[in-house]
Symmetry: C3
Subunit: 164 residues, 3 copies
């Protein structure tokens, strides 16, 4: 049995971003030499998710896949974009105190919407590997989603493969 781990980066923006990382993940699988097993694409960030979705073919003015913008619009109905403190319980006073201790701007904690949206969507996907290929069907693509709208950042995409 082999366990193979690799990490790569994506760059987020001041709005929800959805990076198609299918090709990078497929390259890591090829490099692992694993032919049969399971592959996990994982976010270590608590405002990010990993999703499997069809590509939309169409993009909006911001370059976001239509289906992903439709998803954001649906989530907005129950988790509106956080505009100011007091809109949600989080961030509370203790959290802001801790954030200041990490030299973070208080406004960086106004990402409650991103924490909630991302935990609903999930932190990872688990994909069967059969004969050296991920089972993604005709249309499945792997997306790394960053729901955090308060900062543009580099994010880590983790891939863990186990098999033989």
């Amino acid at each position: 049995m082999t366990v193979f781990h690799q990490v790569f980066k994506v760059q987020s923006d001041y709005r929800p971003t959805f990076d198609d990382v299918t090709d990078q993940v497929a390259e890591i699988l090829a490099e692992s030499g694993i032919l049969n097993g399971i592959l996990v694409v994982f976010s270590q960030h608590t405002t990010c998710s990993v999703l499997i979705q069809e590509a939309s073919d169409d993009l909006n003015y911001w370059g976001t896949d239509f289906l992903m913008q439709d998803l954001v619009n649906a989530l907005e109905k129950i988790i509106p974009t956080c505009q100011t403190e007091g809109q949600y319980l989080h961030p509370g006073p203790e959290h802001i105190k801790a954030a200041l201790g990490r030299e973070e701007l208080p406004s960086w904690s106004l990402n409650t919407d991103a924490h909630l949206r991302s935990v609903i969507m999930g932190r990872s996907v688990t994909i069967p590997v059969v004969d050296g290929e991920m089972i993604l069907g005709e249309f499945g693509r792997i997306y790394f989603a960053d729901f955090d709208q308060v900062r543009a950042r580099q994010r880590n995409v983790r891939v863990q493969i186990i098999g033989e």
Copy 2:
């Protein structure tokens, strides 16, 4: 270590369907001979999900478990059933062009609701296998959910087991 893969089919309908596939998955586990490890039930379709839920005992007029219809009703509040183009961003003009190139009817792309509902519910479940049994508690059943309402189709249910 053994990696065991198998696929079987379920038949969907012109409304959301929820097939209890627990018995088929248990048979595949028995056939694999794996006693301890993890088992993944996976949808390769981007309008389908795999869920663990209690069986409702009661069914509605369409034969749908009460709990599953309650779930559809809850999702309907933020992701209404797609009735026509323009209701969501997706499908856009490029997507329809691509679909026509695959000899699909344009109406088949009016499954935006299904893409969004299914990605929220997730594409797979991962279940511990201990002493030859899936850990599902007293009430857990595995359902393959097809949220696509525009076509009745055969769908693939993938099972990947890794362990010893």
Copy 3:
């Protein structure tokens, strides 16, 4: 390859509870001796979930993390707390008959909200293990969530680790 399984208990309450189980899971990982692989934290209960989220630092009057109460408040918009029979389809007459046969009070079945909330949030998390550590980033904590508000109970948290 090693497969390592362990179970421990958490105590729920008459409202949604979110237990930070990160330290218990880390101890189980250390005990397993597995250095590289994947770790699954799993709920066998169909009104419970396992989530990865940042700790809020702040707690509400009930002792619930602010971010978790914000999550409950968001879910409440589409899945209101179940107060009485007839609010949802479930529980139906057949379910109540079966519950009475198990000597359950009928009111214990008024947990439809918990079945729906928990299935949206998911039954498990899957975490890469690298060099003996779970990859949880700077802020990730593992929570066992019990959405069932009709009974206080002991719940099983299952940990399955596979690797070497």
